[in-house]
């Protein structure tokens, strides 16, 4: 009996969708639009996250400038001591000649300008890469106590700023996504309410003939879920199309300008499919249940 009820609901849902093409299309369109906006925001957020993460990596190096009289042996000892500290991923010595080479590479075409120096002004240095940014302070404290140090540079303020910006972006994104979900449920509930309203009389007749509430609700519920499923499929398709175009156009530029890669398409799409299917189907289901409630009370 239960199985037969489900079979009836599915069969009727397909018939209803087909016979009420215009309304089905309206619901499909509005859910798709919402999911599309949601999807674009999702992509933006994932990419911003990735950019901040990789930018953070560029700030995780502490530079310790050495006095010219500090010899190689003392420097090697420092590197050794630093490497043993908690939170240090890697520590290495960089001679003033190597530092100059590094500058020249960075400056590229304009590298020849550096040839004007008769004497290398750069100091020898030690670089420390921290594995955990929050431990950077304690590493610096230890380094300050070393003899023969000229200066210590690390981008504490920059890192702090970046961390707070990242946090803002994360919370902001979460708020936007959540409000978009709420908005889409409301919009969908209203669209489905219109379809239900158009069939209020029909529902009333069903009640007169003696149909119980679940028998009436079933087809509408399946219909909502089907439309949600279709909308999810359409919007995933659109989002991935848009994303691949953006990747094609800006992907390499992004890499060149900020030395940051965009999130790979495949990874994103797989996640989007799962999220959107769940979201679309539940928006459809909740939308139809919410909007039918009024007509089934008695």
């Amino acid at each position: 009996m239960f199985i037969r009820g489900i079979g009836h609901a599915i069969k009727q849902a397909f018939i209803q969708i087909f016979r009420n093409r215009a309304m089905s299309f309206a619901s499909l369109f509005s859910i798709t639009a919402m999911l599309l906006i949601l999807g674009l925001f999702f992509i933006l957020i994932v990419n911003v996250n990735m950019v901040t993460e990789s930018a953070k990596k560029q700030f995780d190096t502490i530079q310790i400038y050495l006095l010219d009289q500090t010899d190689q042996v003392a420097a090697t000892q420092m590197v050794h001591d630093l490497s043993d500290l908690e939170g240090v991923a890697k520590a290495w010595y960089l001679s003033k000649e190597d530092a100059m080479k590094e500058y020249k590479t960075k400056w590229g075409d304009k590298g020849y300008l550096l040839d004007g120096f008769t004497e290398n002004p750069l100091p020898n240095s030690i670089r420390v890469q921290v594995s955990d940014l929050s431990l950077a302070d304690s590493v610096v404290e230890v380094a300050k106590k070393f003899e023969g140090i000229e200066d210590i540079k690390y981008y504490q303020t920059a890192v702090d700023k970046l961390l707070s910006v990242t946090n803002y972006i994360r919370t902001g994104a979460l708020v936007i996504i959540l409000s978009l979900v709420v908005v889409s449920v409301v919009v969908v509930a209203n669209t489905i309410k219109l379809t239900v309203l158009a069939r209020a009389r029909e529902i009333n007749i069903m009640k007169y003939v003696g149909a119980n509430n679940w028998f009436i609700r079933g087809p509408f519920l399946v219909e909502g879920m089907l439309i949600g499923f279709l909308s999810a499929a359409v919007s995933v398709g659109l989002v991935s199309l848009i994303y691949s175009k953006v990747m094609e156009l800006f992907g390499t530029d992004m890499f060149l300008m900020f030395s940051v890669t965009m999130v790979p398409e495949r990874f994103l799409i797989v996640n989007l499919i799962m999220i959107f299917m769940a979201l679309g189907i539940s928006i459809g289901a909740f939308g139809s249940i919410i909007s039918m409630r009024r007509f089934l009370d008695t």
Binding site: G5, Q16, R201, I205, Y208, V209, G210, T298
Partner: protein, 247 residues
């Protein structure tokens, strides 16, 4: 079959029906007559548990309607066939789907549905319209579909709320023949009507309601209201229930 014991239903200060005690037996054919606002609709709504009484007890098909929960209401309605003046067919379903729907809600197997629906449509004389939608049918044909839907599950009671109100006299009479035929097979029929000529011609039991009370209950009765000149002129004035421009 249908039993009202001292039933009162008021809408605010307006009386629906008041202290009504009446009993309709199995196999009866009863006309429920009376002016508009007399309480006929309230009577029907109480049977279907569309409204709840303020006082008294109502029994329908062995169920005490008063005590049914909302969840049990569908069960009550399934034991009653209903036909309305405006047919109330599902506009998006074909004739046979409309009739089948009444069986589907009982979870009857599709094989049984496929067997029974054509039989009933044949009985109602609308076999050729099986694949048509309600809007493609004449009013008389639509009412036949509605009756087919009402009787397909063999209800013990058939309630007809002005079933001929939208039909021309000839078609109306055909529908009455159909109802009579159904009654002869043992179904109790309760029909609300304003059609004097039909009531007089059928010669069945007539219950007249006025201002919420039963004023007359005759076996083999007539409509009776035309005998009252005052009521006649009231009912037939423009906009009155017998004004041909209204129906």
């Amino acid at each position: 079959m249908i039993k009202f014991e001292d039933v009162t239903k008021k809408y605010g200060s307006n009386i629906g029906i008041e202290d009504v005690t009446v009993s309709i037996d199995k196999g009866d054919f009863v006309f429920l007559v009376g002016p508009s606002g007399a309480g006929k609709s309230t009577f029907i709504k109480l049977i279907l548990k569309e409204v709840c009484e303020d006082k008294g007890r109502i029994h329908v098909n062995g169920m005490e309607v008063t005590r049914l929960s909302n969840r049990q209401t569908p069960k009550l309605r399934r034991s009653i066939g209903i036909v309305f003046q405006d047919f109330r067919l599902l506009p998006n379903k074909t004739v046979e789907e409309n009739v089948a729907f009444a069986m589907e809600i009982l979870h009857i197997s599709s094989r049984t549905i496929r067997r029974n629906v054509p039989q009933v449509l044949n009985l109602m004389g609308i076999s050729s319209k099986a694949k048509k939608y309600p809007h493609e049918l004449s009013a008389g044909e639509q009412q036949r579909v509605a009756i087919a839907r009402a009787v397909i599950n063999n209800p013990t009671v058939l309630i007809a709320d002005e079933p001929t109100g939208n039909l021309d006299p000839d078609t109306a009479w055909e529908i009455m023949q159909l109802l009579d035929q159904i009654n002869r097979r043992g179904t109790t029929i309760l029909m609300v009507t304003h059609a004097k000529d039909i009531v007089d011609r059928m010669g069945k039991r007539v219950i007249a309601i006025d201002k919420g009370k039963i004023v007359r209950d005759d076996r083999g009765g007539t409509y009776g209201y035309y005998e009252d000149e005052e009521a006649h002129s009231f009912l037939c004035k423009p906009g009155g229930v017998f004004d041909s421009n209204v129906y």
